[in-house]
Symmetry: C2
Subunit: 205 residues, 2 copies
Amino acid sequence: MTPPETPPRRRGRPPRAEAGDGPGARERIVAAARAEFAERGYDGASIRAVAKGAGVDPALVHHYFGPKERLFAAAVEAGLAPALAAAAALPEGGRDDVGERMTRFVLGLWEDPATREPLLAVVRSAVANETAAAVFRELVTDRLMLPVAGLLGVADARLRAELAAAQLVGTAMLRYVIKVEPLASVGFETVVARAAAAVRAHLTG
Amino acid sequence: MTPPETPPRRRGRPPRAEAGDGPGARERIVAAARAEFAERGYDGASIRAVAKGAGVDPALVHHYFGPKERLFAAAVEAGLAPALAAAAALPEGGRDDVGERMTRFVLGLWEDPATREPLLAVVRSAVANETAAAVFRELVTDRLMLPVAGLLGVADARLRAELAAAQLVGTAMLRYVIKVEPLASVGFETVVARAAAAVRAHLTG
């Protein structure tokens, strides 16, 4: 999922200053891509609109990111960067209360509007498009499932981690997206406690 | 959620044969609406395209269904009619193994491609649009949450039913939509057994 440090060399003219390249061009493209994917979804997003938003030539977007799915992956990574950093620390607390920590981490991302918006944008794209679903799948597998599963030390660790994640994905959908009551209005700590019980049972029960 | 038996009377000219009204017109409109919402989602769907698909005048679509959200609700109901009939029978088996029956019922809908497609169309619309989310919310509340909660006889029955449903919604998302492995490929009975354990704990634990 990590974008290459050195942009891949592509055929054709090298990027030039008049194409909008220069310091910060890559970051401007990623920011414009986040906004475009969030607003139009994966299928509706246009490279031309991203280029316009970043003030660069469409060829420069392709030069830095290649096909649309790489641009989407970079936009998702950027939108969820703080979350992904926190996920990397999940295994550090050890196996005993990993269920509680995983629950608090995932539901905490949805509870905070600043991280809820990029997550919702990814979910919208992933349910509508197979390529976006693959990008999302790779992300949650590498960054959440495998680190948690690695702690469990049992043969079916990945299946356990996925069923635990399913409880959290579904809770987020019903509380924050579909907004069924009373789940949508009940206190955060109540939701964490109830969901964590199921997550714990999946992981270590 | 049930569409009115008698179509609401609206102002303006009554529908005429040349507008495409006649035996089966209502059913043709619903079928065309299902296809249109499934293909374009709630926001992208057009009444004009539905009318064209049904071979009627757009005014006749409005005459029968009123605003877009009523047409969406009718299309969802029609798409999930067999599922909703089965949901109505869920409480009949009593409280003891309602968790197992609820799990088998919901995951069974997703396992069968014939019911998976209309469900996926609803989920796509509901994650992208607040109005579609409200239609979906009303449907799952009336047809699944309330009947199951009614069996439990405890004060927090609705919250329990919703957390149980969250396990199933999330399992469906990760197995059938995002397709994380091994959850996407493991046998149906294994998934039912694992998910049912969590559902049971939420409902009656």
